[in-house]
Symmetry: C2
Subunit: 224 residues, 2 copies
Amino acid sequence: MESNRREIEVMANILSSNDRQADLNRAHFRKSNCLAINVIGSPGAGKTTLLEKTLPLLMLNMQVGVIEGDIFTSKDADRIAAYKVPVIQINTGGGCHLDSKMVNKVLPEFEGKGIDLLIIENVGNLVCPADFDLGEAFKVIVLSIVEGDDKPAKYPVIFRNAKVVVLNKMDLEALTDVNMDNMRQDILAINPDIRIFEVSCRNGNGLEEWTSWLKQEVGNYQNN
Amino acid sequence: MESNRREIEVMANILSSNDRQADLNRAHFRKSNCLAINVIGSPGAGKTTLLEKTLPLLMLNMQVGVIEGDIFTSKDADRIAAYKVPVIQINTGGGCHLDSKMVNKVLPEFEGKGIDLLIIENVGNLVCPADFDLGEAFKVIVLSIVEGDDKPAKYPVIFRNAKVVVLNKMDLEALTDVNMDNMRQDILAINPDIRIFEVSCRNGNGLEEWTSWLKQEVGNYQNN
């Protein structure tokens, strides 16, 4: 009981200390006029592939920077580096999520590069990253529809906390048992204000719509 | 710095207290002659569907019990209950993994039911459950091949700690960019002793092989 109380207290401390640094990160992004987004999804949802497809469409209009969060390896950062954008890998070394201090530590690397949009790809995990504010303007969920339409109800915290969800791998819809009506209804039941995009990174469907929306978000942020 | 040292200390305490209870659970399973397995995978890897397909093949030969770990909802336990096996839902209420104390708390529910095989389906998460011993005989990974062949190298801890991996959704292989040779090589590079099964819960391929192996494991355990 004693140890349990101590554990809860320490977890609360971790979260509140994370929130304090997140607010400082957010002030830094505001000052730099840089929209920062926190991209969250299960392993294999297609977060990095979505970035690969999104970057070429964005780069004509703005300067993009990327932070790649992973437990081990720099596989994702290597893929993004091919697009000639500033990219920094953060390895958590076993940790299941990024936190605001890890992000703060790498921000100097983007200094003076005129970044309009900083895309932070979190560790592949639909649970833990939901609790850790990184100082982003908003959270983006990437969900592979192959994961099934029961996922929003089973992982509601992240759906409650996100501004937008990109439903990916739509090209596989007919080959799975996913019910897209249930999927959309369940998402909106948790968060009626969330924006839903349906895309296929494989055949390109829906990417234009998603990217246009994101460009507009950068514009709105920078004009505020 | 001070707070950081305290956090590390508390996390170490949590893990070692978990390990102590896990050993007690393991002794309980040994005494009951019940093989307990800990099934781990990302959200939507197909853990519950694999159980649904495996149960009818096992139930002719043995008594099976199921613990369903989820953050919220009893969706998975409801699905399993349809198979008329004893099933208990554990909701972690936000927690990203099961721990040995949660499992211990529900063990009395299986008492006197002559369970030969207890299948513990963990929370959908490829990261955190890898660190928490529940007292199981071994860990089973379920990985949807649609997640991509880079997943073993990116999430090595669980592949190092598991005895077997079930590669699911093989029916979608031709429609994705997954390279199964890379997948198998990377898995075996991390853990040369791991057993790999390739299945499709949709068309039934590979389920017979996987189930026969599991039956044999129960036999081996009970004859030891």
